[in-house]
């Protein structure tokens, strides 16, 4: 009995006896343990002190009494006689044996009912709340699904102007970060556990010292801040400390755009494009479909303006001149790859051509583009690249002004309103950070608070931020992970996830959303608002702080307005008002950049991980990056010709040398990449960043210097021998002349609206004639028949649907080794093919089937989202020996996990290869997250299934969608058309005694799609949207010749080339 007590007790037998006696006599008044008192006693103690205090508490008689209360049965075990004990043991062993049969895979769980049912909550029915997700300072409206108090999925808010119901990958995957076992959980002081109280004591003392000098030694470093509340708080802080400085550093922010606008207009302005009005778009290295704060909206508007309507198309035209591959380039009607050093020259030439000067001759036919722009005056726009030099932004502003482009200019709202001078406007970009570093090196900084960002990892290499930082005596870090920067700080404060905090934020157009929490903080995190208020000595809850910002704006009846805003997810009429700036159609080109020899290099944020802030997010890490289809690594992207010149192939380990830094990286051949240019995605090569991020890829920041943040030249690449295995999900890149993605120009479309190629048309007609099966296989009988169309004319390849599917359907992350083996579990994949428009090149491509090694300088890139197409005559069904995959009356090809034995025959017989198999126990088995070292050869076996991170799995389980089975090892799975959503809607409709309305069921992929490329509905209803889409002449069934009769059909893509250029 007393074994447990012994360990915490002093060897004082006398006291022990008294305690035992007091316990034995249960009627006696026991000393009660006041847990609050214990906590108070422990509060403020840290590290060794903390534990010592715990021991001291444990010695008290109260504690022992409490222990006896907590474990009352311990006594009876001691009293039990030998016979009974053996009996009990025998029974437990037998039971343990029984449970051992399935125990590991099916853990026992306990259900605790509510004592008081919370209002509005019906167990099993999710609730949705509007909030907003902020990415690099700019907001996207979110509707968050909450099941029994756990947020489980993030969807777009249809009322929000930035995304109108769509969602990008980061937004959707951010829910995984909420449950990330690696996130910072407690206040740390020099790496040891501490408390907020302790921190506040220390920091208030520091700030009291600072107060004497007006805060001259107090520096605040943040990322882009658009939150009105946070801006107001910082301003308040600056009133308290008039000499403090606020620095803003965003590794991949809007700095160049801001500088360019400043150059063009002399004012801090930001452009907002209206693509719905645009007929001609020229992108000068811009990835406006993916990388801008307004991209979700831009993509929707851009695609809407080129959609095929009523059988004809009056579409816009996109020219892209870019320095690397992007999905915007892939969508364009004309694309040219240029070197970064040429970009300004092209911009100047285009400006010249538009304003009438004789253009210089170059690889890009700027005169033809200029003519097209001028001809569409008022409906044409030139979009400068997010990371293009400020001069390009200025040039584009000048062009846009002269052609009357539908661009509205708004005052930058990342600068607090009404403050443009003095220390209040944060110095931004590398310059802002530079001032901080200089101050640090001059030992002028006593208190450095880093709230957001990870400068030790991502600051320009020449600043040597890590060393500079050590000069500040007090270094405070507020962050979501204990990362590289936290390790250098003496205090780490755990940040809240946006689903755990009250805040407000602004979208690309300035619209304000209130961020409301969906859950209490899972750990000790506090919101930045609470932290700033607390250190300023006026602590208040985050809700009160955010409300106080808006109380004035609402007018009367604040509480009602507030509830409306929360419900809507946006505060109406808060979009920034366009300003009229002086026309600046003149533009004096600066001296063109010179190439300093060597290869040119492009530093880009990773399309998923951005600057590295999401690198511990397994969904983002594992979903293949657009176009390159690489997972778990960044790579040195180079054109086939450059690779040939360097004598390297994909996956060859190369050494990159730039500005004194040497980094090893895998080479990767990417058709479409301009020759002589290497593109590097940032966000990898993390240290202390969690089990997903660590070991993935290489760190590009050591090569990135303040003078060349986005482009640089002089890169030396040399092969160092050996292979860096890269987990890429697509190894074959051409359609081999097969009828997979139908593409045609406008003229071809007008000639034959089916976009058939003659060859296939004949084949398919023959097959149709010979077909013995009736055309309409399903018999509707008033039962809805589900079907889907995917319009490849609208698909921009942004991956939003894929990550939505992962989030909705509990799809596990399997790790690099498993992806490399070809076992990624994504139900929805985005196939990407390189093709060409003209017949001659097509023949050349078709004859060479080796894949990436082809010297394709500038291919056309097409995307095709692929998931189970739910064949009428599904080849998977007849081959399953146990009938685990069968057809439903509604035409779904269903997968019955419980029945699946795992012969995998269905996958073999699936011509679309959309089935995924649980080769290992992926859903429970987290070691796959570990990025195994392939350099010593193949990893022969996966890591053992027991891992020290099992507690993390429990946390991750909270994320699971309760309506979707979590699949165990050995079963097949695939897209279900979100059958859980169909069922929910069907139940609701039945309850109300009506049919399911068209558009009532929205699949997860459809919901996330920014361009509405995916349409789902009842194909038995001729008036449904999906039936209308299926009547579009471009509609075709993939692999029609196999007679599988898929329910998902595709619509061909149309391009709109300029005849003057394409001839």
């Amino acid at each position: 009995m007393s074994d447990y007590v012994k360990t915490t007790e002093e060897p004082n037998s006398e006291s022990r006896i008294t305690n035992s006696e007091s316990m034995d006599n249960s009627n006696e008044q026991k000393p009660r343990l006041d847990l609050d008192a214990v906590r108070a006693k422990l509060a403020g103690k840290k590290g060794a002190h903390y534990w010592r205090s715990l021991e001291q508490v444990a010695e008290t008689p109260e504690f022992e009494a409490w222990l006896a209360d907590e474990f009352p049965n311990r006594r009876s075990i001691a009293d039990i006689d030998r016979r009974s004990l053996l009996k009990v043991m025998g029974a437990s062993l037998a039971l343990a044996g029984l449970s051992g049969c399935r125990g590991y895979f099916m853990p026992e769980e306990k259900i605790v009912p509510y004592v008081n049912q919370p209002e509005e909550m019906v167990i099993g029915k999710p609730l949705y709340y509007a909030t907003a997700f902020t990415h690099a300072g700019y907001a996207y409206g979110a509707l968050v699904k909450q099941n029994e108090g756990r947020p489980t999925k993030i969807e777009g808010n249809p009322d929000h102007p930035a995304n109108r119901g769509a969602a990008n990958v980061q937004m959707q995957a951010s829910i995984l970060s909420l449950y990330d076992p690696d996130r910072a959980q407690s206040v740390l002081s020099n790496g040891e556990l501490s408390t907020w109280e302790d921190f506040l004591k220390v920091v208030r003392k520091d700030l009291a010292d600072q107060k004497k000098t007006g805060g001259a030694g107090f520096r605040l470093l943040t990322g882009t801040v658009t939150s009105p509340t946070l801006q107001a708080q910082i301003q308040e802080l600056m009133r308290d400390f008039p000499r403090m400085t606020w620095h803003v550093y965003e590794p991949f922010g809007q700095d160049n755009s801001h500088a360019g606008m400043q150059m063009a207009y002399g004012q801090p302005l930001a452009p907002i494009y209206d693509f719905s009005k645009v007929k001609v778009v020229v992108s000068l290295d811009s990835d406006f479909l993916l990388q801008q704060p307004g991209s979700l909206r831009y993509a929707a508007d851009f695609i809407e303006a080129r959609r095929v309507k009523n059988g004809d198309v009056a579409m816009n035209r996109l020219y892209t001149i870019e320095t690397t591959t992007s999905i915007t380039g892939a969508m364009s009607d004309h694309r040219w790859g240029v070197k970064p050093s040429d970009l300004l020259r092209v911009a100047a030439a285009l400006h010249g051509a538009v304003t009438g000067a004789a253009p210089e001759k170059g690889s890009v036919p700027v005169d033809a583009i200029a003519r097209d722009l001028v001809a569409n005056r008022g409906a044409a726009v030139v979009v400068p690249g997010e990371f293009a030099p400020p001069e390009v932004h200025a040039a584009c502003a000048a062009i846009n002004a002269s052609i009357g482009a539908p661009v509205s200019l708004v005052r930058r709202f990342d600068i607090p309103l009404g403050q443009t001078t003095g220390n209040v406007a944060p110095p931004t970009g590398p310059q802002g950070l530079k001032e901080l570093v200089d101050a640090l090196n001059a030992k002028q900084v006593q208190v450095l608070m880093i709230a957001g960002g990870n400068p030790v990892y991502d600051a320009p290499a020449d600043y040597n931020f890590r060393a500079a930082m050590a000069n500040a005596p007090r270094r405070i870090r507020y962050g979501y992970y204990v990362d590289e920067t936290s390790k250098e700080c003496d205090w780490h404060l755990p940040a809240t996830h946006f689903l755990e905090e009250w805040s407000d934020t602004r979208a690309f157009d300035g619209t304000v959303s209130i961020v409301q929490p969906l859950t209490m903080p899972l750990f000790e995190g506090r919101s930045i608002h609470e932290v700033l208020d607390a250190i300023a000595g006026r602590p208040q809850p985050g809700l009160a702080r955010v409300q106080s910002t808006w109380r004035g704006a609402s007018g009367a009846d604040f509480d009602k307005r507030w509830r409306e805003w929360l419900h809507q997810g946006v505060i109406p009429n808060t979009a920034a008002t366009p300003v009229t700036a002086g026309s600046t159609s003149t533009f004096t080109p600066a001296a063109p950049a010179t190439n300093g020899g060597g290869l040119e290099v492009n530093f880009r944020p990773d399309p998923h991980l951005h600057d590295g802030r999401y690198s511990n997010n397994g969904w983002l890490m594992e979903y293949p990056r657009p176009i390159i289809q690489v997972t778990w690594d960044n790579v040195a992207l180079m054109s086939p010709k450059t690779a040939q010149d360097l004598n390297v192939r994909s996956e060859d380990k190369v050494e990159l040398q730039l500005r004194g830094a040497t980094v090893q990286a895998p080479a990767w051949i990417s058709p479409g990449q301009p020759d002589g240019v290497v593109t590097l995605y940032a966000g990898y090569g993390r240290q202390n960043a969690g089990s997903v991020a660590e070991g993935a890829g290489f760190n590009v920041y050591p090569m990135r210097t303040s003078g060349a943040m986005y482009y640089d030249s002089g890169l030396q690449v040399k092969s160092v021998g050996g292979v860096w295995p890269v987990a890429c999900t697509q190894i074959h890149h051409q359609m081999e002349g097969r009828d997979i993605v139908r593409i045609g120009t406008m003229d071809e479309f007008r000639r034959d609206k089916s976009l058939y190629r003659a060859e296939e048309k004949l084949d398919h007609e023959e097959i149709r004639e010979q077909n013995m099966y009736p055309d309409e296989i399903f018999n509707a009988n008033d039962i809805p028949q589900w079907g889907m169309t995917i319009d490849m004319h609208a698909c921009i390849g942004c991956n939003a649907c894929g990550v939505a599917c992962v989030a909705e359907n509990n799809i596990p992350v399997v790790g690099k080794e498993q992806v490399k083996r070809g076992r990624e579990m994504h139900w929805l994949r985005i196939d990407r093919y390189y093709t060409v428009n003209d017949a001659a090149s097509e023949k050349a491509v078709r004859e060479d089937n080796i894949g990436l090694q082809d010297p394709i300088a500038n291919p056309m890139t097409v995307f095709q989202p692929m998931m189970c197409v739910h064949c009428e005559k599904a080849p998977c069904e007849p081959v399953c020996p146990v009938a685990a995959t069968v057809h439903s009356h509604e035409g779904l090809n269903q997968m019955i996990y419980n029945r699946c034995v795992g012969t995998r025959y269905c996958s073999n017989n699936c011509p679309y290869k959309v089935r995924r198999f649980n080769y290992l126990n992926y859903s429970d088995n987290q070691p796959q997250f570990a990025n195994l070292d392939f350099s010593t050869g193949l990893a022969w076996a996966p890591a053992p299934i027991h891992s020290p991170k099992e507690h993390g799995i429990e946390l991750l389980r909270m994320l699971s969608n309760p309506d979707v089975t979590v699949r165990g090892r050995g079963v097949m799975e695939k897209c279900t058309y979100c059958t859980q959503r169909i069922s929910q809607t069907r139940i609701e409709a039945k309850k109300q005694g009506r049919n399911i309305a068209d558009g009532e069921i929205i699949t997860a992929c459809q919901q996330a799609c920014p361009t509405n490329a995916i349409v789902f509905g009842n194909i038995a209803d001729p008036n449904s949207k999906v039936s209308q889409m299926k009547r579009d002449p471009r509609n075709y069934m993939l692999l029609e010749e196999e007679q599988t009769r898929p329910r998902t059909s595709y619509l061909g893509r149309i391009t709109n080339p300029n005849k003057e250029i394409s001839g």
Binding site: H733, I740, R832, N908, R915, M972
Partner: protein, 471 residues
């Protein structure tokens, strides 16, 4: 060696009578000291036992981890597991062919190799059966493939070729085992009669099932044996035909080929005879059975290999032809991938092993060069494994949608599972050689009677207990 006329050559050489045959075959079992202790039997048993342990280890790890320890992926969901299954099933076919079809055709030369080949069949099917069971994702519910009454009210899905496999293989195993055991009964009785130890008498007596050799016994035996032979005969064709349906019924490019059933059956006989030779040649040398398994046997088996090999080669040519004939782009791409892709070495080795090298057997001289025949048999066994590699994973690696093409590469566990089953096979064969009559004694005596008439029953001038001797 001079030219031989296989029709005039005797099927039993040397001076034989019933007693010497009993002694030669039965002595191997009953005189353990003489035949085993000084022989490399222990070495091979040891190898087999070691590999068997590798197999058990692999299976344990497999059950613990899941089949992810293998290299299979999507699209290559079947790889070593099904290759090995088909390979082992094929090997078993020679036994059934020899015992059943040759019996019905009254081919007396089968008598000296049928027992041996039947044992091989059973052990090979045991090895083969492991794979479909263990390759399932959840082997603990693999019994759902059997039609049994259950509370789920679920039948298996009878349209699936895997379902047909279950019936084909289980029937095959059952019939083969019965056939084998029945043929053994008279020999067990002989051993019982010859046994000198008490234990031997009891064990052989039990296995002999009261066989007294009465005319009625023989009558019933002959009838039952013939009936079982009749039952097994269609199995020779059906089992591998059904195995080939796993592929031919699907729509996978490279699998959906109508030539598969005959080509698989021929391949199975081809591989089976190769395996029989692979074992028979060393065993006959080791145990002095050169008089019983004569050069004539070897010559004829080599001829069957040559004939079936030609059918298989024809199948390869047809496969390529069909790719062009069908005109499907996916099929054409697959052909190109086979002959020109990263695994082209496997395809060309296959052509070399199964198409080119067996042509050496056209020469009668080569058919009697034992080392050469043995090496050819080995090459064919390897080639037949490669054939399944080319058909199964290599077809799956290429798809209708080029985007889903992925490479497959095996892991160490794939190999340990494969070599582990070779170990199981070797281990069982070694036990069989030591503890059971490897050659059918009574059929040999029957043959001897047919060859020599009553002379065979006369005792020889001096006991011919000759062990290994020159030819």
């Amino acid at each position: 060696m001079a030219l031989h006329d296989p029709f005039t050559e005797p099927l039993i050489e040397g001076d034989k009578h019933y007693g010497t045959i009993d002694e030669q075959i039965g002595g191997v079992i009953q005189n353990q000291k003489r035949y085993h202790l000084k022989h490399p039997w222990y070495l091979f048993l040891g190898i087999g036992f070691a590999l068997l342990n590798v197999l058990l280890l692999t299976i344990a790890w497999l059950l613990y981890q899941g089949i992810g320890i293998w290299g299979n992926n999507v699209p290559t969901a079947w790889a070593f597991d099904i290759i090995n299954f088909v390979w082992w099933i094929g090997i078993g076919h020679a036994g059934t062919l020899i015992s059943a079809i040759l019996l019905l055709m009254r081919q007396q030369w089968r008598n000296s190799i049928n027992r041996f080949a039947e044992a091989m069949t059973i052990f090979a099917v045991m090895c083969a059966g492991l794979f479909p069971l263990l390759h399932t994702g959840r082997p603990w519910v693999a019994y759902w493939l059997f039609p049994y009454p259950n509370i789920m009210g679920m039948w298996p899905q009878f349209r699936s070729p895997l379902m047909w496999d279950v019936f084909a293989v289980s029937t095959y195993f059952t019939v083969s085992l019965l056939f084998w055991f029945m043929g053994l009964i008279p020999d067990f009785a002989t051993l019982r009669d010859r046994a000198k130890t008490n234990l031997g008498k009891k064990v052989w007596g039990l296995l002999g099932m009261g066989w007294r050799g009465s005319a009625r016994h023989w009558h019933r035996y002959e009838q039952a044996y013939l009936l079982l032979a009749g039952l097994s005969t269609p199995l020779v064709l059906s089992v591998h035909t059904i195995v080939s349906y796993d592929f031919a019924v699907s729509i996978v490019p490279g699998w959906n080929v109508t030539v598969f059933p005959p080509y698989f059956v021929a391949g199975a006989v081809f591989a089976g005879f190769a395996m029989v030779l692979l074992f028979a040649i060393p065993v006959r040398a080791q145990y002095g059975w050169k008089d019983l398994i004569t050069m004539k046997h070897i010559d004829w088996m080599a001829k069957i290999m040559l004939a079936t090999g030609l059918i298989v080669f024809y199948g390869y040519i047809l496969e390529a032809f069909y790719s062009f004939y069908a005109g499907s782009k996916a099929e054409l791409a697959l052909l190109q991938w086979r002959i020109n892709g990263p695994y082209a070495w496997a395809y060309w080795s296959l052509i070399l092993c199964n198409g080119i090298i067996p042509q050496l057997l056209w020469s009668p001289k080569n058919r009697r060069r034992l080392p050469l025949v043995w090496i050819i048999a080995l090459v064919i066994s390897y080639g037949m494994w490669l054939e399944r590699f080319v058909i199964i994973p290599m077809s799956l690696m290429r798809n209708y949608l080029p985007s889903s093409d992925r490479h497959y590469y095996p892991t160490l566990w794939d190999f340990s599972m494969f070599f582990g089953t070779i170990g199981l096979f070797l281990f069982l064969m070694m036990l069989f050689i030591r503890f059971m009559p490897v050659i059918n004694m009574f059929e040999m005596k029957d043959l001897l009677y047919k060859l020599q008439g009553t002379k065979a029953s006369a005792p020889p001038a001096e006991p011919a207990l000759a062990p290994a001797g020159g030819e």
